[in-house]
């Protein structure tokens, strides 16, 4: 069952209703949210998704924003941040279960219902302290649920473990298998190693995330990444995704033919002019807003990110709805990202 099914008009109709209900829910349940909306003179009804009131994603670093009583808090998720500020995201049991289920439904679109043998392009030491994972550790662990017979491609020092990769491919390389990792780790520690040692990744399905910033020096952009993985390692099933802890469980997934991210049925994006906040049409880059019906325990259902993006088209790609790209961080925004913990640790 795919979660990439709704054409834009149908999605807009369902989202505006569900998200309007969430605005009312969070207004009733979260005092700081109520106060922010009151101060902005926000109305009670909304005609379209782009009219919904957004919160800057940064606000989750400054304010305790939750819509559940303290005794129903089941998990507190934190994001990494280079200035020491972290977002705090509060989940109750229902929200935690929903996010896992919807993330599962999203990745099964490209993986199918079976758990595949999984090569994790990361190091096991990431999960050393099981009481306190980094955001990166939590991301890897969340994705590990969708695989089996896990093998770590990096050793304890974060260096490629060529023998482990070879062993994995010998055991599982002749049938579909899953590769997961941060984009720059996949490039530096799997692509380069596979090319050098002539490893065949042809049956792999790669799911990767984390941004392209660290690969600028290598002159690798999304097209080049796909082209060279395919040419040099045989890996053709490649799916980048975009997501953030402040909207846990919602990921925007690259379609099979590459070049665009797609929104699952319960989520969407709006690109805004950073000067006027007006919604921009396809082809015009601006600030990316992400909406999702999953955040019920905290008001993260409409978030203005600090990332620039552009909608490429609507109902004209691999899957229905908007297709878009993330173009990088808004200049002068705080450098922030899960993958940054790696560099500090390394």
């Amino acid at each position: 069952m795919s979660v990439f099914t709704l054409p834009q008009a149908a999605k807009e109709a369902s989202l505006v209703k569900e998200l309007s209900d969430l605005v009312a829910h969070h207004r009733a349940a979260c005092a700081p949210y109520r106060n922010i909306l009151a101060a902005a003179g926000t109305p009670d009804t909304f005609d379209q998704v782009a009219d919904l009131p957004w919160l800057p994603v940064r606000l989750f670093k400054n304010l305790e924003l939750k819509s559940i009583p303290d005794d129903e808090v089941f998990k507190v998720l934190t994001s990494s941040g280079t200035t020491g500020e972290v977002s705090r995201i509060y989940l109750d049991k229902a929200a935690a279960a929903t996010q896992t289920r919807q993330l599962g439904a999203t990745v099964q679109t490209v993986l199918g219902p079976k758990r595949l043998p999984m090569l994790l392009v990361d190091t096991k030491s990431l999960l050393k302290d099981r009481r306190s994972f980094s955001a990166r550790g939590a991301g890897v662990l969340g994705m590990a649920t969708f695989g089996r017979d896990h093998v770590w491609a990096l050793d304890a020092d974060g260096k490629p473990d060529v023998e482990a990769i070879r062993g994995f491919l010998a055991a599982h390389g002749d049938a579909p298998f899953l590769i997961f990792g941060f984009t720059y780790l996949v490039w530096l520690h799997l692509y380069e190693v596979a090319r050098e040692h002539g490893l065949d990744l042809g049956n792999g399905i790669l799911i990767h995330s984390g941004g392209w910033k660290k690969l600028v020096d290598q002159a690798v952009d999304p097209d080049e990444f796909r082209r060279r993985l395919s040419a040099d390692t045989g890996l053709r099933n490649v799916h980048n995704f975009y997501g953030m802890v402040e909207q846990i469980g919602t990921i925007f997934l690259e379609g099979p033919s590459g070049g665009s991210l797609y929104c699952p049925d319960f989520a969407d994006v709006v690109v805004r002019d950073p000067e006027t906040w007006a919604e921009l049409p396809p082809g015009k880059p601006g600030l990316l807003e992400v909406v999702s019906t999953l955040p019920t325990s905290y008001p993260g259902h409409v978030l203005l990110t600090e990332d620039l993006g552009v909608v490429h088209g609507v109902d004209d790609g691999d899957w229905p709805g908007k297709r878009f790209s993330v173009l990088g961080r808004l200049p002068r925004a705080e450098a922030r990202g899960c993958s940054d913990t790696y560099q500090k640790a390394a």
Binding site: Q108, P113, K114, R115, R130, L141, F146, R148
Partner: protein, 81 residues
């Protein structure tokens, strides 16, 4: 050993519980042992014990001992006691 005892033992081993610990009422993440990391070991232990491959949705839905019993029924494991 009955199927139910085999399942109980798989829970005890993968969740680091005592050999005689009661497990029939366990719920996912209700105790410190059964966290998301242990869940992976638990699924692997159940798969090994009963020689089955559990689908993604069933891994996600396996939120209690009772639910594990129900899900394993789908894979042809029957629990008569």
């Amino acid at each position: 050993m009955t199927e139910l005892q085999r399942l109980r033992n798989a829970f005890r081993t993968s969740l680091d519980l005592a050999p005689d610990a009661p497990v029939d009422d366990l719920q996912y993440q209700d105790n410190a042992q059964w966290d998301s990391l242990a869940h992976m070991s638990l699924v692997a232990a159940i798969e090994d014990e009963f020689d089955i491959m559990i689908d993604t949705d069933d891994v996600i839905n396996m939120s209690s001992f009772a639910e594990a019993v129900r899900i394993l029924g789908k894979y042809g494991v029957t629990f008569d006691e």
